[in-house]
Amino acid sequence: MIRPGVRRFFSLALRTRRGREQDVHDEIASHFELRIEQLMRGGLSYDAARALAQERFGPLDRSKEQLLDTATRREARMQWNEQLDSVRQDAGFAVRQLRRSPGFAITTILTLALGIGANATMFGIVDRLLLEPPAHVTDPARVATVSVEMGTTAKHTQERLSLPIYYDLLNTAAAFSDVSAYNPATLSIGDGQTAQLIPAVAATASYFRALGVAPLAGRFFTDDETDQAPGAHVIVLGYQYWQRRMGGATNVIGSTVPVGDDRYRVIGIAPAGFTGLGLSEVAAWVPLTASMTAPAYASQRHKRTYFSLSILARLRAGVSYEAAIAQGSAAMQSGALLDELSPEEARQLNQRLILTSALPRDARGSRADSKVAMLVAAVSLLVLIIACANVANLQLARALTRRREVAIRLALGVSRSRLVRQLALDGLILSLAGGAAALLVVVWGGQFVRRLLLGGAASTTVPVSWRVLAFTGVAAVLVGIVTGLAPALQSMRTDLAHALRTGGRGTHGSFSRTRFMLIGVQAALTVVLLVGTVLFVRSLRRIESVPLGMDSSHVLSARINRASLSYTNVQLARDYDRLEEAASTLPDVQAVSRAMMTPFSSSTAVQVSLPGRDSVPLTRDGGPYYNAVGPNFFRTMGTRVIRGRSFTASDRAGSSPVLIVNETLANLWWPNENPIGKCARVGEGDSVPCAQIVGVVEDTRRHAIIEEPSVMLFTPFGQGPAFAQPYVLFIRTRRPAADVASVMGTRLRAAAASMPFVSVTPLDNLIAPQMQSWKLGAMMFGLFAALAIVLASVGLYGVMAYDVAQRTSELGVRMALGAQAADVRRLVLFRGLRIATLGGGVGLVLAFVAGARVAPLLFRTSPHDPAAFALAAAVLAAVTMAATLVPALRASRVDPNSSLRAE
C-alpha cells in the first residue's frame, strides 16, 4: 500500500478544482492516445481507430462531467481520510511520548482532574440549585410561594403564615387560580419498634392542583378530605419511598399503613422525582388537617398571627405578578380589618405580600446559600486556571527538553503546522484523560461537597447528569487547547540553528519568562482565594458569636408526634408531664422544661393590655410575642434572668398570675422604671386577670439570628391564654446536644413506650441552616484555597527546581568566582520571592476590587479587612519560602568543578 505521505506527493496536483479538472482531462487524453494506439495495433487506420475510440468511450461531455464529479468526491474523501490518518498517527505518537514520561503524564492528569473535577462538581450544584426547574411542576413561572414583609422598615420576611391569611387569598383574591396551605411534617410510619420517621408534607388538596402535577398511580386528595378538621386519613406516597419500602407494588393503593396511632389509606403514588417546590425527598403527603382536631382547627382559623403554615398559589393565566401582589395584599388587609384585630396587630399585618416564583433562580437564587454556591462556583474557576497554569508550565518544561527533537524534525522538513498540531494533540490527550479522571472526582470527592451545599437535596441529585458530562467534556477540550497550544506556539519560535548547536541547552529567556509569568498568575489567584477564606472564616466566627439569648449547643428538643385524632389536648399535656418526668431521671440531663413555642421554629403573638393605657408600644417586628413555659425553662435554655426571679413549680393554674418579660419589653413599656411588680393582662376579654411581672430575661431570638429585637413575654402553663398547650420538651444536656441526641431519643422512647413516637433533635439543628451560607463560604473557600496552595506550590517548586538545574553552570561560575553558598541560596530564594511578591501584589489588588461583590455575603466583616489581606500575604510568603527552599539548598550545593567540566 502506498504510504499517505507518498500518495500526497503524487496527488498534490489534485488539490485545487482546476488541478482536478486538469487531472481528469489528462487521463482522458492519455486514454485516447493509448486506445488509438491499441486499436491501430489491431490493424485500423488512425482515423478509423480514432472514430472507434470515441464511439467506445461514450458521449464525451457527459462522461467527462461524471468523471469529474466522481473525482471531486474521491478527492474530498481521500483528504479527509488522510487527515484522520495523520491525526491518528500523531495521537499514537503523543501517547508513546507520554508513556515514556509517566511522571509527567500522571502529574498533569491528576492536576487537571482536580481542576476540572472541582468545576464540574460546582457546575452540577449550580445546575441543581439554579437551573433545574422543580420536577413535574407545570409552568413553574406561574407558581409562587407567598410570604409577607413584616415591620415597616426592617427587611424581615415572614415566611410562615396563618390559616386566616390562607382563606383571605383563597376566597377573595381572584388573581390566583389555586391557593394551597401546606406544612412540612415528620410522620412516624409503621408499628411500635419498627416505626420510622419519614419526611412528609401536610397539604390541602389544592397543593397538587396549584403545582399542576398528576399522580403516577391512584389519585391525590379531594377538597373534602383536606378542608375540614379532622381531615381524612389518606396518604399519597412518594415514588422513592414506595419503591424502597414497598418494592413498587401497585396493589398498595387501597391498603392501609400505620401512621402514628392511626391507619391511613394509601390513595396514590406521586411521580418519580416529585418533591414539591423543595429539593429534598418527600416520602409522603397527608391532608393538612389530618392530625388536627375540630376545635384546634376552629381556633387557628381565627388566629391571624398564629404563624405556622406555608402558602403557595398559582397565578391565573394573564395575571401579572404586580397585579397578583396588589390583589393578594388587599385581600389580606381587608381580612385583617374584618377580624377586628387590635390596632397593633392590624398595623403589623397591613403589609405587602411577597410572591416568589417557583423558578429556581427566583425561589433559590436570592437565598444566601445559593449566592454562596454561585460565588464558590466562580471561585472554582480560579482553581481551574491555577491547574491550567501548572499544566502549561509542565508542558513548557517538557517542550524545552524536547527542543532538540523539535529542531531536528523541523530541519527534516516536517511542517510547523503539523508540529503545532502534534503538540496541541499532546495537550488534548492529557486533558481528555484529566476530564475522565475528573468524573471520578465528581462522583467520589463531589459527594462531600454536594452534601454540604445541597443538604437533603443531595440524595435526589444525580452526581453526573448529562449536563455535567457535557460540561466536563467541553472544559477538558478547552483546557487541552489552552494548555497544549501555548507551549506548542512557544516551541515554534525555536531558532533552529541555535537549538541544534546547543543541543537544547543554553539560554531560554522567553521560555523562562512565560513560566515565571504563569507562576505569578498562580500566586495572584491563590491570594484571592486566601483572602476569601479569611473573610468567610471571620464572618462565620462573628455570626457564631452573636448572642442568641440562649445556649443552644446543649439543648435538645423532644416532641411527641401526635398523629391520632382520638389523642386529646388533655392527653397530650399528660404525656408531656410523663415525658418530662422520664427525661429528668436520665443520665446526662441537667434540666428539662416544657414550652409551647420553639425558638427559630414557631412564634405566636398575643393580645396584651396594660391597665390605664390605650395601647402598648411594639418594635417594628410586631408582637407582643408569647410563650407558655415550664418552671425550669430559662435554666434549660441557658437564658439569663436579669431581674427578679424565674418561674417556680408553685406558679401554676390557680396560683396568683405571674409574668416574665424580656428586656426589650421592659425598656419599651417601662423605660427607666423597674418593671418588677407591674401588671399586664395577657389574652382577650375583660375577665383576664392582671398578671404581675416577677422577672426580666435577656432578649432571645424569635426566628432568625439576625432580626429586630421583639417584645416578648412568658407565662407558666395553666395561667396564660386558653390556647397555651405544651408542644415541646426542652432538655439541657451535660454533653453537647448533637452528641447525645440519638442516645437520648432511644432512651426517651423506651421510657415512654406507651406514647406516640417521640422525636429528639438538637436545638442547633434549627439554627444551623441560618449560619449555613457563611459556613459554606468558609469551608468551600478553605477547600479551594488549600487546593490552590498545593497546586501553586507544586508549580513553583517545579519551576524553581528546573530553573536551578538549567543554571547549574552559571551558578558554578559564580561559585568559582567566589560566591558563598549563602549568596547562591539567597539568589534563588529572592528569585522565588520576587515572583510571589509580584503575583501576590496583583492578587491583593484583585481581591480588593472583587471585595465589593462579596460584601453582601459577609457578616459584619469588611471585604477590605486588612487582617485578611495581611494573613493571605503572609501565607503566600510562607508557602513560597517552603517551595523554594529545596531548590535553593540544591543550588548552594553546586560543585563548581563538575558543573564547569560538564559544559
Binding site: 482522458i28 467506445r56 461514450g58
Partner: protein, 116 residues
C-alpha cells in the same frame, strides 16, 4: 454497435478489480483485458471503466499514480489495495454461490415438490 449484456455498477467494480488482481494497469489495459476476456459480450462504455476506477479509489479499494508506459506515454496506473483484494475475494465467493444456486434452479431436473 452490437449491444451486449448490461452490467450493473457493483458487478463492473468486481470485474475491474479482477483485472487488477495480478498487476497494476492503466485504463486502456483494463479495457483491453475486458474485451479480450468477454469478446464484447458486455454492454459497456470505456468511460464506465474509469467511473468504476474513480468510485473504487474513493472507497480505498484501488489506488492510482501517474506512470509511464512501455511506449513512453504518460498514463495513470491503478493497483488493488489490500482491502480491494479482500473485497474481490468475498464478492467473488458471493457471486459464485449466487450463480450456482440460480443455475441449479434453472437447469437442474424438476423434482416433484408436493408431498415431502
Amino acid at each position: 454497435m452490437a449491444k451486449g449484456q448490461p452490467v450493473s455498477k457493483g458487478t463492473l467494480d468486481i470485474i475491474v478489480l479482477r483485472a487488477l488482481a495480478w498487476s497494476p494497469m492503466h485504463g486502456v489495459e483494463i479495457i483491453a483485458w475486458l474485451e479480450d476476456r468477454t469478446g464484447r459480450r458486455l454492454d459497456l462504455d470505456d468511460s464506465g471503466v474509469y467511473q468504476a476506477l474513480y468510485r473504487m479509489e474513493t472507497r480505498g479499494l484501488v489506488s492510482a499514480e501517474w506512470g509511464v508506459t512501455e511506449n513512453k506515454r504518460r498514463a495513470r496506473y491503478y493497483r488493488a489495495t489490500p482491502s480491494g483484494a479482500a473485497y474481490l475475494r468475498t464478492e467473488t465467493r458471493k457471486w459464485v454461490r449466487y450463480a450456482e444456486t440460480v443455475t441449479e434452479l434453472l437447469t437442474g431436473p424438476r423434482t416433484a415438490g408436493g408431498d415431502a
